[in-house]
């Protein structure tokens, strides 16, 4: 099998998941550029490709995004974006809606590093070992980071005021009615 054939097979197998990985972290207009650049790096390093391709490809894409972020003076962890309008699985479950709302609010209180750890598992579906390879740390280290991030998220959720405790209308409006 020629190098071009090997690469084409790699590309076809991993293109969608790499695109999703990038799409979760960048605005849509920038996605294709990073995906293409990441595969170009992979093409040029094909001989060095490890057995586990997915974390390797994700790591390449992450580097490209970090480099771009640094170029623009943003040194924080990659900003992982949430779905603009999260759609609950069952709209009739008010409690589910409340928990999703809380989750979005709690998500906003996590730091960028914690979000990155959580999304590598929850969205990208990586194992701890794969996610550790993406971030360049030991699997054990990643597990500790994941545990801390999850617990932090839960602590925040515990402390959020209940949605049903919120006033139905803005306070100023209620006052005006009286």
């Amino acid at each position: 099998m020629s190098d071009a054939d090997r690469f084409t097979r790699l590309y076809r197998e991993h293109r969608a998941e790499l695109e999703r990985f990038v799409r979760r972290r960048l605005p849509p207009p920038q996605v294709e550029d990073v995906v293409a650049e990441a595969f170009l790096v992979a093409w040029r390093r094909l001989d060095a490709a490890p057995a586990e391709l997915r974390p390797w490809l994700f790591g390449i894409a992450r580097n490209l995004m970090l480099t771009a972020a640094r170029t623009h003076g943003r040194w924080h962890a990659l900003h992982v974006r949430l779905a603009a309008e999260p759609e609950p699985a069952d709209l009739e479950l008010a409690a589910d809606v409340a928990s999703r709302t809380d989750l979005v609010r709690a998500w906003g209180k996590l730091n960028a590093g914690e979000r990155e750890v959580l999304t590598l598992v929850a969205w990208d579906g990586l194992t701890a070992r794969e996610a550790a390879a993406v971030l360049g740390c030991e699997p054990g280290t990643f597990r500790v980071r994941l545990l801390r991030a999850r617990r932090h998220l839960l602590r925040i959720l515990d402390r959020l005021p209940q949605v049903d405790a919120w006033p139905e209308r803005p306070l100023a409006e209620e006052g005006a009615r009286r």
Binding site: D3, F7, Y11, W56, N63, L66, L103, A122, A133
Partner: protein, 517 residues
């Protein structure tokens, strides 16, 4: 399912790509074609190696003269857990108010005293001379399983500032002038901070747009950097600066003796350093090395605290202390570096560079060389272009860089002679090389009893070794190519093994391979 598992499952529902279409088939195929249209092997970078000496000096300047010294980690030898490193660092100074109090009143009082202080008489010399001494710590893990170790580095920096703003620097690491003198043109460093105007204008200018809660740290750092490079400001500007500083979130730590034994008033400001992820090398082997030696990520970031110690009467800067808190591998409030400002005066002349070399960043003497490397021999001609590339290629994977590469006419031909310096260790190397025009080394050199013979690819080698120098002689088997190489350790140091190995196993054999390969 545990609450932690549940929350992960819920997070999966928020994945933005669940409801967004991926690229269509046409786009997917176009990207594949675009990638495959590229040469699969990335072209080797061409041109001269980066000016690593500049990097080293600039880094040291950042660490010392610019007053930004602090804990750092060595590339590839990053920290682990434990507290043994902190035990090796110096203890906290004995501040009169270790817990700190708001500094406004004390800064305003000091500003009043400085306002009344008289500036010293105008200097005689044309060159401002500054001397600072400090110490900083890197925290390293020697092996993946090893504990963290503190690696102290003592730094001193002498600086001469000419009237035109050009700067000559002599930096010593652990007492060794590893990089020789460094010359910097006006504009290579930021100009002195502008302390003109009202106190409010001064701090706004020095804060450079920093958020309000970071302004004090930014202002103090900018001030320290400027004083470190260009010396103390006149009393009127110092007092205005202190008045401006008094309006910021600065903490007073009271009277303290600095590490040079001088009594001063300590003021500090802190800022939060956020978590900064590092890219993972694309090369799997390098990534594995990084993974094995990386510390746990400092997700919460840490706090950097900079404390200046000011003369209680004149307000001049005596010292800077750097303290970190919240670093996972360090105890709270660990001193990670300090700088003492010991001399600030004027002298009549700049020092001669002498054997240390000079003009690290001046115009190249030969082609792309980043430093002069001593005077060229009379009657020699620089070698440039493709002919020079063969020699430059020999140093491609080393820290040696050419400072001179010239051809010397001889009665029966010519020889190539050159000068190189290892920009990391400071080791210097000179060599001469002759090819077909001369018939091998003279017999007395081949049979010199002080030299030890060794095998080298394509020829014979002879080496004479002392602690600080080594001379190597080599000759190709057919006797048509000969080389004589001498390497010297910098200052009073011993010769680094890796430099000797480079000369013996790479450079001499490379010369003897000739231009045919």
């Amino acid at each position: 399912m545990t609450p932690e598992r549940t929350v992960l499952a819920q997070l999966a529902d928020l994945d933005p790509t669940r409801h967004e279409p991926l690229a269509d088939r046409e786009q997917v195929d176009a990207t594949l074609a675009w990638v495959l249209a590229h040469d699969p092997v990335q072209p080797e970078p061409t041109g001269s190696r980066p000016h690593r000496r500049w990097v080293a000096l600039a880094g040291a300047a950042a660490a010392l003269v610019l007053g930004l010294a602090g804990a750092h980690v060595l590339p590839g030898l990053i920290t682990g857990t434990g507290s043994t490193a902190a035990a090796a660092t110096v203890p906290m100074l004995a501040y009169a108010q270790p817990e700190g109090t708001p500094a406004r009143a004390e800064l305003e009082q000091l500003a009043d005293r400085v306002r009344d202080a008289a500036d010293p008489p105008p200097p005689d010399g044309a060159y401002r001379y500054l001397r600072v001494v400090g110490e900083t710590w890197a925290f390293v893990k020697r092996s993946p399983e090893g504990s963290m170790e503190a690696d102290a580095l003592q730094l001193s920096m002498e600086t001469w500032v000419a009237p035109d703003g050009s700067i000559r620097v002599l930096q010593k690491d652990d007492g060794i002038a590893r990089y020789g003198y460094g010359d910097f043109a006006p504009g290579d460093f930021p100009p002195p901070a502008d302390l003109s105007g009202t106190p409010d204008e001064i701090v706004r200018r020095l804060a450079a747009g920093a958020p309000k809660d970071e302004a004090a740290y930014a202002v103090l750092s900018a001030y320290v950097s400027s004083v470190g490079l260009y010396g103390a400001y006149p009393a009127a500007e110092r007092s205005a600066f202190l008045d401006g500083l008094a309006a910021l979130d600065v903490t007073s730590y009271g009277t303290v003796a600095d590490r040079a034994g001088r009594t001063g008033l300590a003021f500090g400001a802190a800022h939060h350093v956020p978590y900064r992820p590092h890219p993972v090398p694309d090369d799997p082997a390098a990534a594995e090395q990084m993974r094995r030696s990386s510390p746990p990520a400092d997700l919460d970031g840490h706090i950097d605290d900079v404390r200046v110690i000011l003369d209680p009467v004149t307000g001049t800067l005596l010292a800077v202390e750097h303290i970190q808190s919240g670093v996972d591998y360090l105890p709270m409030d660990t001193v990670t570096g300090y700088t003492t400002f010991l001399e600030d005066t004027y002298v009549a002349t700049m020092p001669e560079c002498g054997h240390l070399g000079c003009g690290a960043n001046g115009p190249p003497a030969d082609g792309d060389s980043p430093f002069g490397g001593g005077a060229a021999r009379p009657g020699t001609e620089p070698i440039t272009g493709p002919e020079a590339n063969r020699f430059y290629d020999l140093t491609r994977d080393s820290d040696f860089t050419f400072g001179r590469l010239r051809r010397q006419p001889l009665p029966d031909g010519s020889e190539v002679e050159g000068f190189l310096r290892n920009l990391e260790t400071g080791t210097e190397m000179t060599f001469t090389y002759q090819d077909e025009s001369v018939g091998g080394l003279p017999a007395d050199l081949l049979d010199d009893p002080e030299y030890t013979a060794y095998d080298l690819p394509g020829g014979r080698g002879f080496i004479y070794l002392s602690d600080r120098t080594a001379t190597l002689r080599g000759q190709s088997h057919d006797g048509t190519r000969t080389a004589v190489v001498t390497i010297n350790a910098p200052g009073a140091g011993t010769l680094a093994n890796e430099d000797l190995a480079f000369a013996r196993d790479v450079f001499v054999p490379g010369l003897l391979r000739g231009s045919a390969e």
